[in-house]
């Protein structure tokens, strides 16, 4: 069992009031807060050994390079990658997926090929594939959802076909919390020789992930959703795939030799990291990984299951005026609740509960096709992390009750 009160002490931002009320931060699927250990890693870097990496013989440069690469090792280890060479630093999930779309997909997807996603993708794992489909004359197909908000796995055999070249699926929906059985999907893709990309933006922060065990080809995630700073994330690529890929961004660091009219490429993974990287944030992401590993990913998952189950129970009080969505079986669901009240638009709910210190997200959550599917213009969403408490759920539910009363007056 985690000591949540002790954990909360690590997060300076949580100890403030908003509109005179204690902050209740329930927008963790958008971005999580940062423990002091991560903030301190940034300060230590900038006050102690800031320097450009990889090409310096001086002491600061050596320290920076060592820390930058050590962080890559930590990340590789955290997600079970066979080697740190399989980890490419990116700004986040979106850049990671774009990298794959501009490199591997550009070369390997052609007319008549099929790209399979799910019906609940975040725009960042959908719009890049729309571009490829349009540019290459390929087709985009979606694995449908069932009534219970889990994927309809019985359709896999018909959706994933001999024409499928890429299956690009989320590991956890940022709207419904649905956890996708990605390992089964990888197996289905393997049968037809398709590559698999997993959007792990919502999974890596909240549960144990092992890319080697999943056997996927690409795995993308963002640091800012897992206690790390903004501006850093990572793409894992299976070595045999990565070494065949053409570079994406061109420039310093990613080259081996450069003539006026041509160039050769550096080793992996630097080949995919053109220009000065986000050194400080890469190092701080390593500190975030350390932090999460100290808590233990299984403990974090367990805590979120408890909070979510408490929240679902508490929402029963609102059920006359407010619907909520997502799998009821918490084994297949992360700590996310999307909800909708016929009488109060999500934005109005959001503004209202903010007045009570409660931060929730409202809108389409970058998943407009799913919203259309759900028949809703938008939802409000509460999403939990390791520092949230059941008392905070009570405050949320209480604020929602007040809002529903207010708008029906």
């Amino acid at each position: 069992m985690l000591d949540v009160q002790a954990i909360r002490k690590d997060f300076p931002i949580l100890h403030q009031s908003v509109h005179g009320k204690p902050l209740v931060y329930l927008d963790n699927a958008a971005t999580t807060q940062k423990p002091r250990q991560v903030i301190q890693a940034l300060v230590d870097y900038y006050e102690g050994y800031n320097s450009n990496v990889h090409r310096a013989v001086h002491t600061l440069g050596q320290k920076a390079t060592a820390a930058y690469e050590e962080s890559r090792e930590k990340i590789a280890n955290f997600i079970g990658a066979p080697s740190s060479q399989d980890i490419v630093y990116t700004r986040g999930t979106t850049e990671a997926i774009n990298l794959v779309s501009y490199t591997w997909a550009e070369e390997n997807i052609g007319p008549g090929d099929e790209i399979v996603v799910t019906e609940m993708e975040h725009h960042s794992n959908l719009v890049p594939w729309q571009r490829i489909a349009q540019a290459k004359g390929a087709t985009l197909k979606g694995i449908p959802l069932k009534e219970d908000w889990t994927l309809d796995m019985s359709t896999l055999g018909s959706v994933i076909t001999e024409r499928t070249k890429l299956v690009a699926v989320t590991h956890m929906s940022n709207v419904l919390g649905t956890i996708v059985p990605v390992k089964e999907i990888v197996q289905a893709a393997r049968r037809v020789g398709a590559k698999v990309l997993i959007d792990g933006a919502q999974a890596v922060p909240h549960m144990r992930v092992n890319v080697a065990d999943l056997d996927c080809d690409f795995y993308a995630f963002s640091g800012h959703k897992m206690c790390g700073p903004t501006g850093i994330g990572a793409l894992y690529v299976k070595e045999e795939v990565l070494k065949e890929m053409e570079p994406f961004h061109r420039g310093g660091e990613m080259v081996r030799e450069v003539w006026f009219d041509r160039a050769t490429w550096n080793d992996l993974p630097m080949r995919f990291e053109a220009g000065t990287p986000n050194i400080a944030d890469a190092i701080a992401l390593g500190a975030a990984v350390d932090y999460l590993q100290t808590l233990g990913m299984d403990n974090i998952r367990q805590h979120e299951i408890e909070i979510t189950s408490y929240a679902i129970e508490a929402f029963k009080e609102l059920e006359e005026d407010l619907d909520h969505y997502g799998p009821r079986d918490l084994q297949y669901r992360g700590g996310i609740i999307s909800f909708y009240a016929e009488d109060v638009h999500p934005h109005d709910l959001g503004t209202f509960v903010d007045s009570y210190g409660v931060a929730i997200r409202t809108g389409h959550h970058c998943a407009m096709p799913l919203m259309r599917q759900m028949g809703l213009p938008a939802t409000a969403r509460a999403s939990f992390y390791v520092y949230n408490t059941t008392e905070e759920i009570d405050i949320l539910v209480d604020a929602l009750k007040k809002a529903l009363r207010y708008f029906s007056k």
């Binding site: 509109h19 934005h347 109005d348 503004t351 007045s355 809108g363 213009p377 938008a378 708008f407």
Partner: protein, 151 residues
């Protein structure tokens, strides 16, 4: 309780009334101008149609989806547009923008705004200003297109 005061300022009765009972929902036949506005960050939408007679807006309709602020503002707007020339409509838009961004408004201008004044509370919620302006964006577009086609 400050938060309820601010909320009451934001959600004035007029606004909730327009939200619950939006005016001018009946489609305009053979509209002279129309436009669609969407806030990409939240998905709120307003579709505006209007018919002109003698250089003035004589009939107007909107259809929308979204929060109370965006829909009430659009509803109030449609009420105010009737009888106005496009220039007068744009002038009103500009006064309303100034209200939203906290600039000074003369007594006379405030009078001319009618129920729009009820939206003054939005100023304290900067993130909702876009909501209040959504319908007006569609008006701006509609008039722009109309001017291009007829001028």
């Amino acid at each position: 309780m400050t938060e309820l005061n601010e909320l009451d300022d934001l959600y004035q009765e007029i606004i909730l009334d327009h939200y619950r009972h939006p005016r001018n929902q009946q489609a305009v036949e053979a509209p002279d101008m129309q436009a669609h506005a969407l806030n990409p960050f939240c998905g709120d939408e307003v579709d505006l149609q209007a018919r002109m007679e003698d250089g003035r807006i004589c009939e107007v309709c909107f259809k929308g989806r979204g929060c109370s602020i965006s829909q009430a503002s659009a509803s109030i707007m449609t009420e105010l547009l009737k009888g106005k020339t496009p220039e007068e409509a744009l002038e009103l838009y500009s006064v309303f923008r100034r209200l939203m961004f906290g600039e000074d408004i003369s007594e006379e201008e405030l009078d001319g705004m009618g129920e729009l004044g009820a939206l003054a509370g939005v100023r304290k919620f900067p993130v909702r200003i876009k909501c209040a302006l959504l319908g007006w964006n569609s008006l701006d577009d509609a008039i722009g297109e109309y001017a291009k086609a007829n001028g």
